[in-house]
């Protein structure tokens, strides 16, 4: 499906092939695209992966179930908590493990905090790709991210690779200063999101560059396995938290925002709206969190876990889309097959179709609006 260029009688034009190579400030990691351009217009785009392939799926087959938890942190390294959660969910489904109430609430709080942080970062980096050169939106988003990372560090001991959520619950209980700090942070985050909204949404240059760029139709999105904010910004109200109602999401009252334009601007608005809904969930969770144990499977049992023979597919709504784990167990303490259903790899399926016909500058914008993380694409 490439654009036909009609040759004029006397002037024969040719296409130029450039390589937006692995080393590039805007490809969100080591991601390579081979662009074929006719002047400034993109005629063809071929993505090339594999620069960050670490063989996690193979290595995980030789480690026990609990030793694989740190691998999951490093998948989508910006949102460590939700990766852990997906793996824990799949393992709980496979082995039939129950999770205590308090652990579920803690998981929800941290998961939604991660979602807020991820969306703010995504917006900041989208603006960086658009050219707010000296990082101003990124720096503001990172300032808020630091506050959230402080909370995660308080709970899990590590900022970016928490390894906090494991099958059966969470590793340890929240320290006492967590809740007061969270109570002060949530209104602050609300104000920050409103501030970002006021400053960024009505910017004329942004709208001129984002509206109508990279339109993704709903039918194509569903067919291509695209999930997350990208899908919902194309008009499909599919949120795994509502559809599957995993964990305790059916107890919370939140909406699933949907936008119908399917372009970069709609994805930006979508992330902003979802961040607001996440803050709503956090407030409700903070109010209702009960006391109790935080794990039903202490480390001694977890490290010797031998799930019965079988297989299970568990998925969650991570900030970038659907993150799923397909675990096959043959009765031993190591997984027989450890398959990661990667969010960002599938979200990139239609990159070519979204970019054809646009200019070179738009390719970077569209890639920024899909919001990928290479650790998840290449695993």
């Amino acid at each position: 499906m490439s654009v036909q260029i009609p040759p004029t009688e006397r002037l024969r034009t040719d296409t130029i092939q450039i390589n937006m190579g692995p080393h590039h400030p805007s490809t969100h990691g080591v991601f390579r695209m081979v662009l074929t351009l006719d002047g400034e217009t993109v005629v063809d785009l071929e993505p090339r992966f594999g620069y960050l392939h670490r063989g996690i799926e193979k290595t995980a087959e030789e480690r026990t179930y609990v030793q694989n938890v740190p691998f999951t942190d490093r998948l989508d390294y910006i949102c460590g908590i939700t990766n852990n959660w997906a793996y824990a969910l799949a393992l709980e489904k496979l082995a039939g493990i129950e999770v205590p109430e308090r652990a579920e609430y803690i998981r929800v709080i941290l998961g939604e905090l991660t979602r807020v942080m991820n969306h703010m970062l995504a917006i900041g980096f989208l603006w960086n790709d658009l050219g707010a050169t000296t990082f101003t939106p990124v720096v503001y988003a990172f300032r808020e991210r630091e506050r959230i990372l402080d909370l995660i560090e308080m709970a899990a001991g590590s900022r970016m690779m928490p390894s906090y959520i494991r099958a059966g619950g969470v590793v340890a209980d929240l320290p006492e200063e967590f809740m007061p700090r969270l109570q002060k942070l949530v209104p602050h985050l609300k104000r920050f999101i409103d501030e970002m909204d006021t400053m960024l949404t009505k910017n004329e240059i942004f709208r001129a560059r984002a509206v109508g760029v990279g339109v993704l139709k709903a039918k194509d999105a569903i067919n291509a396995g695209i999930s997350g904010p990208v899908l919902r910004a194309s008009g499909v109200p599919y949120d795994i938290r509502k559809v599957d109602s995993y964990s305790i999401y059916d107890r919370f009252d939140f909406e699933v925002p949907v936008h119908t334009a399917g372009d970069v601007y709609a994805r930006y608005l979508q992330r902003l709206a979802e961040a607001r809904q996440s803050l709503r969930i956090i407030e409700q969770a903070m109010r209702d969190i009960p006391e109790g144990p935080v794990t039903s499977l202490p480390y001694k049992q977890l490290s010797r876990l031998k799930p019965p023979k079988g297989e299970a597919y568990g998925r969650i709504e991570s900030p970038k889309g659907e993150l799923g784990f397909y675990l096959v167990s043959d009765g031993s303490n190591k997984p027989y097959r450890f398959r990661i259903r990667s969010t960002s790899l599938l979200n990139l399926t239609l990159l070519r179709e979204m970019c054809i016909g646009h200019k070179v500058a738009d390719v970077v914008t569209i890639l920024g609006s899909i919001d990928i993380t290479l650790g998840d694409v290449d695993r």
């Binding site: 450039i18 400030p25 000296t134 240059i205 119908t260 334009a261 200019k359 738009d362």
Partner: protein, 388 residues
């Protein structure tokens, strides 16, 4: 010649004293030659000092916009940072790519820098301080300022790199486009001032009031066109480091890169200085010396440029060209017509000024309305696009 020593006249007085001293023991032609060379050296020095200050200021302003400190290691508050940058660029290895066209590759930074520095000759730094008081001053400025475009194209071609080539194409397109609104605005100012010489333009503002008050619409048009000419954000797609990684000087390193860097900031200073001359009354101002006023006003304008740079995203190249040809050129022509009619038909300068102001405000409102309407139509079309 009488030598009046005062804070206002200090630079001229130093120059006269030196000339008198030299004339004591050198023939006249040699004295003139030495004085002219000295003027050239002084202009170059102003350029380089401006670059040092501006590069530091840029980083500090960008940092403060992002709620951080900026360079603060070298010297108190980081003021020695530009010297560190200069030393770094001088001692870097000068790499010429194996397949590059050596002649063009080496020639390009020279052309760009020369084109930038030559514009300093007509800037009125103070009451009697113009290096060359040409009576076609503005025309010279616009003409010589366009010399850099050839340099950019040469750099892009000589680098033998697709990214550099794409950037060079974009550069030529954008810079040529924005020469036209720039020239139209300059003509409006020249009409009101009655002369092409920079000193006369400043003196005309002394009589009629500063031109940015008289013609705010033309001023805004000139501001945007000058931003595009100096490749400042939001028009800096040519050196976009998020797409084509520094554009036309992607293959340069060491001293040649330093020359490009230098040329950019020299051009920034010259462009701001010209804006101050044309619209803000040059060196006019009460009780501070004239050259100090000039510097203050220039740095305020530069600060506004940096402020805008840290706030807005970039405009895409096809949108840049669209705005240039479809919005700015017609607006410039309309402004030209307004200025011409008002200036020649209304004899009284005060009434002419007020009418001109009102017409310019109408111009701004009209252009904004039309641009806004086009944008809203595009957005209405995009609603619900995913479900169709």
């Amino acid at each position: 010649m009488e030598n009046v020593w005062s804070i206002e006249n200090v630079w001229n007085a130093i120059g006269m004293a030196l000339q008198n001293w030299l004339a004591g023991f050198l023939p006249a032609w040699l004295v003139t030659l030495i004085m002219d060379l000295l003027v050239i050296v002084v202009l170059l020095a102003i350029g380089i000092v401006a670059v040092l200050i501006l590069s530091f200021l840029e980083r500090k302003v960008a940092a403060r916009a992002g709620d951080r400190y900026g360079p603060n290691r070298w010297g108190p508050y980081g003021v020695l940072q530009p010297f560190a940058d200069a030393i770094k660029m001088l001692i870097k290895e000068d790499i010429v790519p194996h397949v590059a066209d050596r002649f063009s590759f080496n020639l390009a930074p020279v052309i760009v820098t020369v084109g930038a520095v030559m514009t300093y000759a007509v800037l009125p730094f103070g009451r009697n301080m113009v290096a060359a008081n040409l009576n076609i001053g503005i025309l010279y400025f616009a003409a010589v300022g366009s010399l850099s475009i050839i340099g950019l194209l040469t750099a892009g071609w000589g680098s033998r790199n697709k990214y550099a080539l794409i950037s060079a194409f974009r550069s030529v397109a954008q810079l040529i486009t924005y020469e036209v609104p720039l020239a139209l605005c300059i003509i409006c100012v020249v009409m009101l001032a009655g002369s092409l010489s920079t000193q006369d333009i400043v003196l005309a503002q002394q009589e009629r009031g500063w031109f940015f008050l008289l013609m705010p619409g033309i001023f805004i048009l000139y501001f945007l066109a000058a931003s595009a000419e100096m490749i400042r954000c939001p028009f800096d797609l040519l050196e976009a480091d998020s797409e084509i990684v520094a554009g036309h000087f992607i293959e340069y390193s060491g001293m040649k890169f330093a020359l490009f860097f230098l040329a950019e900031y020299i051009h920034l200073f010259a462009g701001s200085a010209m804006m101050v001359t044309l619209f803000f009354g040059g060196w006019l101002g009460p009780w501070l010396p004239s050259w100090l006023w000039f510097l203050i006003k220039t740095f305020v304008v530069i600060f506004v440029f940096m402020w805008i740079r840290n706030t807005f995203p970039r405009i895409r190249i096809d949108q840049v060209l669209k705005i240039g040809w479809k919005v700015m050129v017609p607006a410039g022509l309309v402004g030209l017509a307004i200025t011409g009619f008002v200036d020649k038909l209304i004899a009284d300068t005060l009434i002419a000024g007020v009418v001109l102001f009102v017409c310019n405000i109408a111009l701004i409102v009209g252009v904004s309305y039309f641009m806004g309407r086009a944008q809203r139509q595009k957005e209405m079309a995009a609603e619900g696009a995913a479900l169709r």
